[in-house]
């Protein structure tokens, strides 16, 4: 394996470059996936049947907590990748751990939010609107859940095997994924919650 030292560690081998480009293309597919969900959401948002509308069920407090926590986690993983480029393994691991903790908090609040919706009669089967609301949020939440496990595995690997080109590559790609989830959340926050509450 040829290592090019003039480039950052995560780009230093041919396979690493391929992995990063491949992951960007995967994110393109993910954009289509969420775009389809959003298009479906906008189609069904006013079709409440006998169920509640968004304005009836959305609460600002949990949504603000989720937003704040997730946006911060995007910042901390950025710091983690920065630390990785400086070769500071412990700082990087700390920032990654903080990121995952923030992600876990997000997930906890989201689970609370979901049980709340079901409790007040806005379940999956209530109407087309509630179904697409919970599916869109749920798809994002499932991505975060997967990310938590993935991030944990990467922390364990960096801890055990150090900052190799391979691990740096994995960490960088994971950070792309995490930023992407944040971007999706910004759209959810703006076009699902804010628009729904107005």
């Amino acid at each position: 394996m040829k290592i090019d030292h003039s480039l950052p560690l995560e780009y230093s081998t041919d396979q690493n470059k391929l992995n990063i480009l491949g992951f960007w293309i995967f994110l393109g597919a993910e954009i289509m996936l969420f775009a389809t969900l959003f298009a479906t959401y906008f189609t069904l948002v006013d079709r409440m049947g006998s169920g509640p509308a968004g304005a009836d069920i959305f609460e600002i407090t949990p949504v603000l907590i989720e937003t704040l926590v997730l946006l911060t986690s995007s910042f901390t993983i950025g710091l983690g990748v920065h630390a990785m480029r400086l070769g500071r393994k412990n700082a990087m691991l700390t920032f990654f751990a903080i990121t995952l903790l923030l992600g876990l908090t997000f997930l906890g609040v989201e689970i609370y939010e979901f049980t709340h919706y079901v409790h007040i009669g806005a379940g999956l089967q209530t109407s087309a609107f509630t179904a697409i609301l919970l599916t869109t949020l749920g798809t994002h939440g499932a991505h975060v859940t997967l990310g938590l496990f993935w991030g944990l595995f990467i922390i364990l690997q960096v801890k055990k095997r150090g900052l190799t080109p391979e691990n740096a590559n994995k960490s960088f790609i994971f950070s792309l994924y995490w930023h992407f989830l944040d971007v999706v959340w910004i759209f959810i926050f703006s076009f699902v919650y804010l628009k729904g509450m107005m």
Binding site: E30, M32, G49, L124
Partner: protein, 648 residues
């Protein structure tokens, strides 16, 4: 309900019991055969765990051919049922199941693996690469597709086949009107295969963008590679839409949501829109690689370089763009209003322009060329007039106001078979014959191949041309029978005769494979067609590392220039070659996916949870695994090269 009742066939017939016995006997025969000839180890080491793009291509090919015959039997059953008025061979329910599985099998499980078979085998060779960018994901793609296909194919012996058409429109496909588990099979098997296809899309885009031989700029790529590139770009943008559509459909059927129902705000037209936002680009996913194959074949056998290379590239890019802007033309009659219909009418007709450019480019490539009518060339030349009929009737269907007359009639069925069969099936047969010597080291018999071509080309027209007339006379598609008074009888009988002719044509192809395997000469050169692109620059069959030395490219037809103008292609000396390790995980993970899909089809929640965990365990295993591949030493490469050169 008794637990085992759910697995029963809701609508059994002697034919289904006979197929159950046949499937059982085949499985036993395969197991006994493998054990008797002690081939289990060989199968596992050389095929089930392989990550070599060439072997994966061959496995795609075998699966596609198997599915071609499964879908073909469906087609024969339909033609036999409608051959005479008021026939009682199949009843309405069976007919529904047969046309549904025919459509799904032919598009998703025959045409798709066929194009991926050829892409897998050819693209890395055409760009002078050692493999695809992610060999292991490539194996996963194949096995996910394969398990999706198997899941779909067990539906008719366990629980019942889908019966709502390959488009599976809601509310017909909802629980109220499709009560058997058939549509669950549809949703889950296509989902599994679709994930595989999406992974392939990412893999091939990365491969083509990053792994081209030095000197091969984008505008020096062979046309088949260009079409593969654009096709995979469409895959990456279209398949996530299908993923969501299938997810929502599955939730409607299994969890009682109201996405596509007619109550509580559900919207049945949403399914039709989502399905065709994927479905129309899917048509171009199938046709663009076919265009690429024709470009290669026509220029090789006309002894001329491809006419209008740049306009060819431009037209496939424009087609791919327009492919996302025409989906509504599949349901002009379903109430969008005149403005929407007019816009989609215009975008639809606009696609005829870049397609027309391609047709003229092929004609001008042949112009003054020294044409050799080999089997691949026959398919390519046959394609042009037949496909043009399909294209012209497509423009007719694209006119929204006129479409009210044609919609859902046999005219439509004739139209899309006139595009898909010459467009995709002819191209795949041409590509198969063309690249066969590169895959297996011997050529298919030309004489039998020509017989097969003429049987297929003539029978195809006999089968489908009468449908234009019955369609214009008002024969609806998907009707299992009709009365004698309609007068559709004679033309439908002609169609049936044509279908039998097609069956003979495909049987001849099978015979050709058998005959050539036994009798064809193994002593052929690595370039038996005197072709023009890089895949012919290496040995036949291709060694595992593809090229001992990476080629250097200076022109669009570097290999042709190397042959005719003595411009050296392989400079530099042999170095050790890095190769990826084989792995069984993609196969095992896909097996788990199969059980996962099966559990969801029958709402078996405990196995569904266990298999979901199993899938994630496989992914976690991959994350922790250290796999640096291995090196083939210089000496081994030199030995292999010497051996292969001695043969050829």
């Amino acid at each position: 309900m008794n637990f085992f009742d759910r697995f029963a066939i809701p609508h059994p017939s002697p034919a289904i019991y006979a197929s159950m016995v046949a499937i059982g006997l085949t499985v036993i025969a395969i197991i006994v055969g493998l054990t008797y000839f002690k081939k289990w180890g060989y199968l596992w080491r050389e095929w089930l765990t392989t990550v070599d793009h060439k072997r994966i291509g061959i496995m795609y090919l075998i699966s596609a051919l198997l599915m071609l015959f499964r879908g073909g039997v469906d087609a024969l059953m339909m033609r036999a049922q409608t051959a005479v008025p008021e026939n009682a061979l199949l009843d309405a329910q069976h007919y529904n199941e047969v046309f549904t599985t025919h459509g799904v099998v032919m598009i998703i499980f025959m045409a798709m693996p066929f194009i991926y078979a050829l892409m897998n085998f050819v693209v890395p060779l055409q760009i002078g690469a050692r493999d695809v960018a992610f060999p292991r994901l490539n194996a996963l793609s194949f096995w996910l597709f394969f398990m999706g296909a198997m899941l779909f194919n067990i539906s008719f012996v366990i629980g019942g086949s889908p019966d709502a058409g390959w488009t599976s429109y809601f509310p017909l496909a909802g629980n109220d009107f499709s009560q058997s588990v058939g549509t669950n099979y549809y949703m889950l098997s296509i989902q599994i295969a679709g994930i595989g296809t999406l992974i392939s899309g990412i893999n091939f885009i990365t491969t083509i963008l990053k792994m081209r031989a030095p000197g091969m700029t984008l505008m020096k790529m062979p046309m088949f590679t260009w079409t593969a590139f654009i096709t995979n770009a469409i895959v990456v943008f279209a398949f996530p839409v299908l993923t969501i559509a299938l997810l929502l459909g599955t939730m409607d059927r299994l969890f009682g949501t109201n996405f596509f129902t007619t109550t509580n705000g559900g919207m049945d037209m949403l399914w039709a829109n989502l399905f065709w936002v994927w479905g129309h680009p899917e048509v171009y996913i199938l046709i663009l690689p076919a265009f690429g194959i024709y470009s290669e074949v026509i220029s090789t056998f006309s002894r001329r370089n491809l006419y209008g290379y740049k306009s060819m590239v431009a037209s496939i890019v424009i087609i791919s763009f327009f492919s996302f802007l025409v989906w509504t033309h599949h349901f002009f009659t379903m109430g969008q209003g005149p403005l929407t219909n007019s816009i989609f009418s215009i975008t639809t007709m606009a696609i005829a322009i870049p397609t027309g450019i391609k047709i003229f480019n092929w004609l001008l490539t042949m112009w003054k060329g020294k044409i050799k009518f080999t089997v691949p060339m026959l398919y390519a030349v046959g394609f042009i007039p037949i496909f043009t009929i399909g294209g012209v009737t497509g423009v007719m269907l694209g006119m929204a106001s006129a479409d009210y007359q044609y919609h859902n009639t046999m005219f439509l069925v004739a139209h899309f078979h006139y595009t898909i069969i010459p467009g995709v099936v002819f191209a795949m047969l041409a590509g198969l014959t063309y690249w066969w010597p590169k895959m297996f080291g011997f050529m298919l018999n030309e004489r039998i191949g020509k017989w097969a071509f003429w049987f297929i080309a003539i029978s195809f027209n006999v089968t489908f041309f009468p449908m234009f007339f019955t369609g214009l006379d008002g024969q609806a598609r998907r009707m299992y029978t009709y009365s004698e008074a309609t007068g559709f009888g004679p033309l439908n009988l002609i169609s049936f005769v044509g279908a039998v002719g097609l069956a003979i044509g495909f049987a001849l192809i099978v015979y050709n494979v058998y005959y050539s395997t036994r009798y064809a000469s193994r002593n052929i050169s690595s370039d038996p067609w005197d072709a023009r692109s890089l895949e012919w620059a290496t040995h036949s069959p291709v060694p595992s590392y593809n090229f001992a030395v990476t080629p250097k490219v200076n022109s669009i037809e570097a290999f042709w220039d190397a042959k005719k103008k003595n411009i050296p292609l392989f400079q530099g000396k042999i170095d050790k070659i890095h190769m990826p390790n084989n792995t069984g995980v993609p196969f095992i993970m896909s097996c788990i996916f199969f059980v996962w899909g099966f559990s969801f089809v029958f709402s078996l929640w405990i196995p569904a949870i266990i298999t979901t965990i199993g899938i994630f365990v496989c992914m976690a295993h991959r994350s922790f695994e250290k796999d640096d591949g291995y090196y083939i030493s210089v000496k081994d490469v030199e030995d292999t090269e010497k051996k292969l050169r001695g043969v050829s």
